[in-house]
Subunit: 358 residues, 2 copies
């Protein structure tokens, strides 16, 4: 089966119009491709730099059908797209990365069982089905542990940290009405992530792992290179490749690892471009966004070579301070997302602080 | 007079929707700003990545007025915009860089007299008013010389090279029905250009000069750093600063120099971002497009620091070969313009070949 690359001026449909869709649009434009954003909200950030925008609900089958007919291929910028939307779209067009990657990553339990089936390490966990089980689970798993909803959690949302089986706070009830799992807290030396791509021909290319610092469940900085051994780097990339192959994946993936003294433990993966890969915009000739577009458009992948060291710093909430800090710095590249309202905890942009590669 | 920076999500109007407008749009998006393209042609390249597009003639005052009312500031991506369009627009909104820079650069005679008034060197030339004068001018100036229309020439168009006063080819007549000048051919060691910016507060920042190779009047490659002495580099930047100050300029300018054994001779300047500045996209944290947006939006300028060596190669006409050469090269960044038809001599994109800074 030979698949030709997308022709110049072909249109890529993107489900979701946030900052990731925005930067995917810009990357597509560099390759002479157009984008069409599908998003339920009005004036999505990606719409400012896209060729077309459809404003409609993900349940609007008429709008989805029209969208599918106007694009050559569909991708997505966030993983919590309703399953029904994807099933409907898939009857009309090709979606990359495919349904399987989304199905697995949309549910923490499914994801962990999938990773374990590949022989990869995850945090110890227990499937929770009710309050009694939670107390039992906390005793058997040990504390501290984190109760997480199986679906629709992101940026630390849908999570509660528990430290005593005999003193379970009442706000767990807000989570327990949904399917959840209890995860043992991993005592790690550092967190890293691997951003890698798999092409339609099965080729795989990885960027250098980045070292992440989270606060309150939100990524604050990614530093490249990460302070890990060559062995750890090799392992992390091989684990990522295993996931890509098992899912018959086409596109960019982001895999988060805990680095412990003994091994690498996978926290989770996102079947899309990833916040911890934003450093590639100023560290590589081809960034993660263009790499994703190349993969889904059947273009040759870049090998992910890095030509600079980078510290990526997220701009969260108020932008004034960090923007003025960066505005005149010789080696800082600012990336704002065009969001109007600076809500607490909202990602407004990021800065890549560049330094010569050591 | 204090001018505040443009607010996030403000809209910049851009006259012209070619590749320069396209890359200006992308740069504006990085700073959280929107763009509105005004272009007479349908489906202009910049429209693919702009928030809004107006398709109307530059003489359509209704459309111009509506455009002016929807944007916070106006800039342009090519210098051959009709004077009447600018006069009309200026009554409704601010244009940066201003009218004066356009007025001077739109006419080769005006431009040369302006440069000489600043004490800067230009090629020797004669104002041509008719065929008799042409022969006389050729004798007094010496050959070879180049007959150039005073207005609307670009990429080698509107130019004829003449080598014998007694054998003037008949096709000069196609130029002589328009105001023209005759320029002595400069015997140069190399061609360089300076891309620099001036902010609203009068601050000036220059990128490192690039060394240009033209073929048939079209730029083929720009290499940074240029092979010039520190003295030549300083001179070139100072000459550029002189021009910026004299024009009370706000924005990015491109100035082309001939480097001779004795001095620097200014070929011409363009009051806009410039093809020979495309290397900054992969050589600097803030590229020429973002620098222009920063200047016209009253943001602080970047100092133009370069962190990589770059060879920029234009993709002219058929794109197939060069795209496949670049697609898998570790250190090449591809930039296509989304043009559908690959005409002979048409600029379809460019590649930045990156190498570590020496």
């Amino acid at each position: 089966m030979i698949h030709k690359p997308l022709e110049p001026n072909a249109t890529i449909g993107i489900l979701g119009g946030g900052q990731l869709g925005r930067m995917l649009s810009v990357a597509a434009s560099r390759l002479g491709l157009k984008t069409h954003i599908f998003d339920p909200s009005t004036d999505p950030p990606a719409g400012h730099v896209a060729h077309s925008v459809t404003t409609a609900k993900f349940s609007d089958t008429e709008a989805l059908k029209a969208f599918a007919n106007q694009v050559h291929i569909v991708t997505y910028e966030f993983e919590n797209i309703p399953t029904k939307t994807l099933d409907f779209l898939e009857a009309h067009c090709t979606i990359r990365p495919g349904r399987e990657a989304l199905r697995v990553s949309q549910d923490r339990l499914t994801e962990k069982l999938f990773l374990q089936s590949l022989g990869l390490n995850t945090a110890n966990f227990v499937d929770i089905t009710g309050p009694t089980t939670l107390q039992t689970a906390l005793r058997s798993l040990g504390t501290p542990a984190i109760l997480k909803t199986r679906q629709f959690g992101y940026d630390g949302k849908g999570q509660i940290r528990l430290s005593d089986p005999d003193d379970i706070p009442p706000d767990v009830n807000s989570l327990l009405d949904r399917p959840s799992i209890l995860e043992q807290v991993v005592h790690f030396e550092r967190e890293i992530s691997v951003i890698a791509a798999r092409g339609f021909d099965g080729s795989i290319a990885s960027f250098d792992p980045g070292e992440n610092i989270h606060q309150d469940g939100i990524l604050r900085t990614t530093t490249v290179p990460a302070r890990i051994t060559v062995h750890q780097k090799t392992e992390a990339v091989l684990h990522t490749a295993k996931i890509l192959n098992a899912l018959n994946y086409v596109g960019v993936i982001g895999v988060e690892f805990f680095v412990t003294p003994n091994n690498l433990i996978i926290n989770e993966f996102a079947p899309r471009v990833h916040n911890s890969g934003h450093w590639t915009q100023n560290g590589c000739a081809v960034d993660q966004f263009e790499q994703h577009i190349r993969a889904i458009a059947n273009w040759p992948l870049s090998d992910g070579h890095r030509h600079n060291d980078v510290v990526m710093e997220n701009i969260i909430g108020d932008t004034t301070d960090v923007v003025s800090r960066s505005a005149t710095d010789t080696l800082s590249a600012l990336h704002l997302y065009g969001k109007v309202e600076a809500k607490l905890g909202r990602k407004m942009g990021h800065i890549n602080w560049i330094s010569p590669k050591n």
